[in-house]
Symmetry: C2
Subunit: 263 residues, 2 copies
């Protein structure tokens, strides 16, 4: 679907309403009180319930406003559509962060076609930040105000900041490849979940390298980062929107330098 | 100094005013725009400037309100006092997080005597959270409301969540000791900076293990965690307020289990 065929003026309000709904649900469960003085397990897993309820809330909005679009979500079965558009949903990306109380998990919403996402939202409900990209929009909202997004430029690999979620990234080979990049950059940080992609789009960091992703982990980041002027591909430079290994870079130069080391 | 000799009603307003001042300064520099399209280095390091200005602002308040107390801060020379009380300040704990844009760094303020901190503040300016402990107070303020702090209990090591700042913690021996604990817990997370201690006091996680700390890195966390019912010592169970290796635990049982593995 060409960009001019996408009705962004129709799609953006739907995406934002979905993000609002998921924010409400996830905040009801984030930092839920833990059982005190009793190690007995009960049949209550806040993150699982929050994940399912948040995706259900988003699907309800789509059923109401975009009933003919397809849906690919983490928690429920994929739903076919007739419009050529698919909504790709991860109600809580970064469940380990969620259960630990760190504000680095996010709600991921993307919509696109077979060629990949056209519009994406990364929402951090607890901080109250929303990162949005696609259809001419590249902006963040936060409690401290609204700002345009945009990658930073002019840094080479030796000056770059690299993020990933786990130090024990992927397979042994994948980890070795990651380490080849990590040893060349100025700063490597871990544990950032999807927040790392938001920071890249906001011009705060330069590279994110991950492996073992699902489509719903990476489609919203792709849309947000591309709108901000960055690049997201798989480790060989091909499309990343189906998941697997992904590299996000602020500039073509950093992307090429890091890919050469990953190869 | 006995707890009854501490004038907490006098000290708390001073500590909060210092935290407010440091919040204002650090937020002026957090996520400062980076130089665009120009890799030339200029003589401008936002984190260094923010660090120094924030500590200066806090020292100015002490000069005004508590001129006879001693001061130990990260950025300027130690100042002697005559009251037996020392303020221990780290204007930006987690500078790597600060320069990367992650909201896990914090302003650390403690006041105490030779036996350690009696009152502590961990402030996260961007999220707008403040964690406070000492003198009968154990509470957090946040944009989503104010809550009491309190560690969670009833978990054994196999159910615990462990945080540390770097996967490459300390020396080779220190790292091996950390790994002995990490392999026994349910979840290990990295990159949390001082925010990890706040999460422990808030009942979200169970253990923090670090090495290579300075006194100003650990004194505020000690006061906040002890007020919340937790324990902070060095890796042998002795006082941790001078820095070095520290273990913070939600319960005596977890503390003992982890210390046995660190030994």
């Amino acid at each position: 679907m060409s960009d001019s065929d996408m009705d962004y003026a129709m799609l953006w309000p739907v995406a934002e309403r979905m993000a609002d709904a998921a924010r409400d649900v996830t905040l009801r469960y984030f930092r839920t009180e833990n059982l005190k003085a009793d190690s007995k397990r009960v049949d209550f897993d806040p993150v699982t319930i929050a994940d399912r309820e948040a995706e259900r809330a988003m699907r309800d909005i789509l059923a109401d406003l975009r009933p003919d679009d397809a849906i690919l979500g983490e928690e429920f079965e994929a739903q076919d559509g007739t419009t050529g558009l698919t909504w790709v949903l991860d109600p809580i990306d970064g469940t380990r962060g969620f259960i630990s109380g760190t504000p680095t998990w996010g709600v991921l919403i993307a919509v696109g076609d077979d060629d990949g996402p056209k519009l994406g939202v990364i929402d951090q409900p607890y901080v109250g930040e929303r990162f949005m990209g696609g259809g001419g929009r590249s902006a963040m909202t936060s409690p401290l105000g609204n700002k345009p997004l945009g990658v930073r430029t002019g840094r080479d690999l030796a000056e770059a900041t690299l993020f990933t979620t786990f130090p024990e990234i992927g397979s042994t080979d994948e980890r070795a490849a990651f380490e080849r990049v990590a040893t060349e950059v100025q700063l490597t940080r871990y544990g950032a979940d999807c927040y790392a992609y938001a920071l890249l789009a906001a011009g705060q960091i330069d590279l994110v390298i991950e492996a073992g992703l699902n489509a719903y982990d990476i489609q919203a980041p792709i849309a947000v980062i591309e709108a901000a002027g960055g690049i997201v591909t798989d480790w060989r430079g091909g499309p990343a929107h189906s998941g697997g290994r992904a590299i996000a870079a602020a500039t073509p130069e950093l992307h090429a330098s890091a890919m050469a080391l990953l190869a």
